[in-house]
């Protein structure tokens, strides 16, 4: 069974979707991610969809679910890198992804996540930026 890797980066989880998703794979990602948020006490989830060519209503719903489920577990979700054609299609489809925070790329998404999480909480994990300051 294929799996989408989830990377832990300090207080955040990073997911880069590099394959074409079918429904089962997307559902598994949803549950894996939520379990991981709970297990490691993540404060934020960053999902990079820059390699995703299509987001249909099912995939859109999964993204929305991940955002609301993590919010309940006190974690923020930011979706980054959406292709312009995908954005146009989603709105026309009737799924404007309300409630899902987005950013243009991974870098901006990380900054957004950091700004959404209070500084003392962000310091709980091995945040790279905090380490360099400590040295």
């Amino acid at each position: 069974m294929e799996k989408i890797p989830i990377l832990k980066m300090g207080p955040f989880l990073l997911v880069t979707i590099q394959v074409d998703l079918y429904d089962r794979l997307a559902l598994n990602l949803e549950s894996d991610l939520i379990q991981m948020v709970n297990k490691v006490g993540s404060k934020g989830v960053l999902i990079d969809i820059s390699a995703v060519n299509i987001v249909d209503s099912f995939m859109g719903r999964i993204l929305g679910n991940i955002a609301s489920m993590s919010r309940i577990l006190d974690a923020q979700t930011v979706v980054v890198g959406m292709q312009p054609a995908v954005a146009i299609t989603l709105v026309e489809l009737g799924l404007p992804l309300n409630g899902v925070r987005t950013a243009l790329n991974v870098e901006k998404g990380m900054k957004l996540l950091q700004s959404m999480v209070s500084p003392d909480e962000a310091g709980e994990g091995e945040n790279i930026e905090d380490d360099t300051i400590a040295v």
């Binding site: 074409d20 060519n53 299509i54 859109g60 054609a85 026309e92 489809l93 009737g94 799924l95």
Partner: protein
């Protein structure tokens, strides 16, 4: 300016076709890729390609969820100077008893968002649905290359 050839341009010609059988979820990815290949062949722009494939993805999901799969015909069609892709989804599922209701935003018998059919219709240029309860459903969509 060349004169328009008038009425003959209304006719839709099928130029090239292919058929695929969809029985499980994993078939969806190769199907979407095939649709992309066909749209690239007629030089469809990226936005229209994305709209077509997204609509196709919605319809193929319906086919799998409600009819346990079916057959899809992929065709390159032309009408006058326009080229396009026509997809025909046929299944032998339970059919749709109330098409008007099924085409409404937010209406679903499953626990979904109910965007599949109405959303797919918004993303393509031509949309035709025929269904007979107990016999099956056939949905035909066309996306013109510059439509």
């Amino acid at each position: 300016m060349r004169p328009e050839r008038g009425k003959t341009s209304k006719m839709i010609l099928s130029l090239s076709k292919d058929e695929m059988e969809i029985v499980r979820e994993q078939d969806v990815v190769p199907f979407r890729n095939r649709v992309r290949e066909y749209s690239v062949r007629i030089k469809m722009g990226l936005v229209n390609q994305t709209k077509l494939i997204t609509a196709a993805s919605e319809l193929v999901r319906n086919m799998l969820n409600y009819a346990k799969g079916g057959r899809i015909r992929i065709e390159i069609v032309s009408k006058g100077r326009d080229n396009g892709i026509r997809l025909t989804f046929s299944d032998k599922g339970p059919g749709i008893s109330n098409i008007d209701l099924a085409m409404k935003d937010g209406w679903s018998t499953a626990k979904s968002l109910g965007l599949g059919l109405p959303g797919a219709r918004r993303l393509v240029n031509e949309f035709d649905i025929k269904s007979e309860p107990g016999k099956g459903t056939t949905i035909t969509i066309i996306k013109w290359s510059n439509g």
